[in-house]
């Protein structure tokens, strides 16, 4: 249980920070796509007989880079849809090769917070540190290119490379979060809290902090409720993400 709280909190912190940029850049589809595509990795890992995290760590950067490189020439949404589908298809194939219990597949898709081990917490902590460090280093160019792409370009920021780096960052977060919240719902954590936070506060740093706070509350609540009800954690995360967003829209509308 302690492990679950620790892992969940780490996930919430990273998702809150990275999610802020996801919403700012309008990269929701990619944020949804990378974790989904990584499902193939988790399924593949069970074919080979290694821990799912290894599969995730291999496949999510591959998916991120494929989306980034193929999507460079127009219609990036089409490319994202196709890469995701191709990876999921691969996942379906791997699944048909294993004698995995349905409950384990289910856990991959919708999360299983109570199965987190101590080693995984340490791994998560290391990845969280790396991701936060990356955001801190890239903060200025990332913010500039998200808000004003042309200006960033003119100032010498290499936006294409930055975009790719950002996708890889998303892949790191995915590897971290999927074992806890599952492939299908991890993106709600990257979209719901930041979208809500942006409606509450204006300045980027404050919004990021608010986003982390909201994500933490969401995850803690979801873990507690999942523990109490034995219902899947993904359910609570998904519903809470939407609730925050609705609340934020209401607040924003009343202020106007």
């Amino acid at each position: 249980m302690t492990n679950a709280w620790l892992a969940g909190s780490l996930v919430a912190v990273v998702a809150g920070v990275v999610g802020f940029f996801v919403v700012l850049r309008g990269a929701t589809f990619a944020a949804h796509g990378v974790p989904l595509a990584s499902f193939a990795g988790a399924a593949g890992a069970s074919v080979v007989g290694v821990p799912a995290v290894v599969g995730l760590a291999v496949f999510s950067p591959v998916a991120a880079v494929a989306i980034g490189l193929l999507g460079r020439r127009r219609r990036s949404d089409v490319v994202t849809a196709l890469v995701v589908a191709a990876m999921l298809g691969l996942g379906a194939l791997f699944l048909s090769w294993t004698v995995e219990y349905a409950s384990e597949i289910y856990a991959l898709l919708f999360g299983e917070v109570l199965g987190v081990t101590g080693t995984e917490v340490w791994l998560s902590a290391a990845l969280t540190g790396a991701a936060l460090l990356a955001v801190a280093t890239l903060y200025r160019p990332l913010l500039l290119s998200s808000v004003a792409g042309e200006v960033a370009e003119a100032r010498g920021v290499r936006t294409a490379r930055l975009e790719l780096l950002f996708l890889v960052l998303m892949a790191v977060v995915t590897t971290l979060a999927v074992p806890v919240v599952g492939t299908l719902l991890m993106f709600t954590l990257m979209v719901g809290p930041p979208a809500a936070a942006r409606a509450f506060v204006r300045s980027p740093l404050a919004a990021m902090a608010a986003s982390v706070g909201i994500a933490l509350v969401t995850v803690w609540l979801a873990i507690a409720l999942a523990y109490e009800t034995t219902w899947p954690i993904g359910f609570f995360v998904g519903i809470a993400g939407a609730a925050w967003y609705v609340l934020a829209r209401v607040v924003a509308a009343r202020r106007r």
């Binding site: 990269a27 196709l82 589908a85």
Partner: protein, 278 residues
């Protein structure tokens, strides 16, 4: 080969696959042109909610797919899919809430009936298990989908490329948008029967994206997309049938894998060809 065509599930699968491929091709062209791939993808995921609900109530999954598709189309219109900016976030939020609910329903499916396959069937499809009784309904939906596109062709085209011009000309843009979303929902429901909910967008977007690379004219692209879709679906079914003896499991590889892999290869091929031509 004679064994292939003599098998009843295979014949049903071929018919279902053909219907899904044709509607997807026609609707898919507009999906790509309008830049609504994410919405198309979301419909697929959301179908999971309908499919798992239908499993729980023990009714034909098709009804679950279709009803949820229609409801969600309305929800997406309400939260503002018509604006490009913020649209993705709104789509994502609706998608997240519905997926959460689907997670719960699938969980209840698994615990209640202890038939563990529900999640996999809903998500990854089971075309060989389509009951031949649902064929007329599916044919009706497919026919209605194609007819709707034909009827709405002009206003759809105009509102896709020049929304301002369309509204000046008296086209009810919001109504057209909503109509198109419903259409997309129905289409994805049909494809969900073939390749499952989370893979259905591939069939919607893939062939259409290929076709739009090959021809600039929407009408021609629709025919091409339907053709490409048909080829990949049938080839996928045939390969899945042939794979029954393949290693490692000797239980056959999934149809959805073959269909999606072929779609992806087709897209890469067309892209490479277009790049070579310059």
């Amino acid at each position: 080969m004679t064994g292939f065509l003599a098998s009843d599930p295979v014949r049903v699968a071929l018919v279902v696959g053909a219907m899904a491929a044709v509607v997807s091709g026609v609707v898919g062209v507009f999906t790509v042109v309008r830049g609504q791939s994410f919405a198309g993808h979301a419909f697929g995921d959301l179908g999971t909610l309908g499919g798992s609900g239908a499993f729980l109530l023990n009714v034909n999954p098709l009804w679950g797919f279709v009803s949820v598709g229609a409801v969600v189309a309305g929800a997406m219109e309400l939260v503002g899919v018509q604006r490009r900016r913020g649209r993705d976030v709104a789509t994502g939020i609706v998608l997240g809430a519905a997926l959460g609910a689907a997670a719960l329903l699938l969980y209840l499916d698994t615990t209640r009936s202890s038939t563990t396959g529900a999640a996999v069937t809903v998500l990854f499809g089971s075309i060989f298990a389509v009951a031949s009784g649902s064929l007329p309904v599916m044919a009706g939906l497919a026919g209605a989908g194609v007819l709707a596109v034909v009827a709405l062709y002009r206003p759809l085209l105009l509102s896709s490329f020049h929304p301002e011009l369309a509204s000046v000309r008296g086209v009810p843009v919001r109504a057209v948008t909503l109509g198109f979303l419903v259409l997309m929902g129905v289409t994805v429901s049909l494809t969900s029967m073939v390749v499952g909910t989370i893979l259905s967008p591939a069939l919607l977007v893939g062939p259409a994206a290929c076709a739009l690379r090959l021809s600039r004219r929407p009408g021609v692209a629709m025919v091409l997309a339907a053709g490409i879709g048909l080829v990949v679906t049938w080839a996928g079914i045939a390969l899945a049938y042939a794979s029954a003896t393949w290693p490692p499991s000797h239980a056959g590889w999934p149809v959805s894998f073959f269909v999606v892999a072929l779609v992806f290869l087709a897209y890469l091929g067309v892209e490479a060809g277009a790049a070579a031509r310059g």
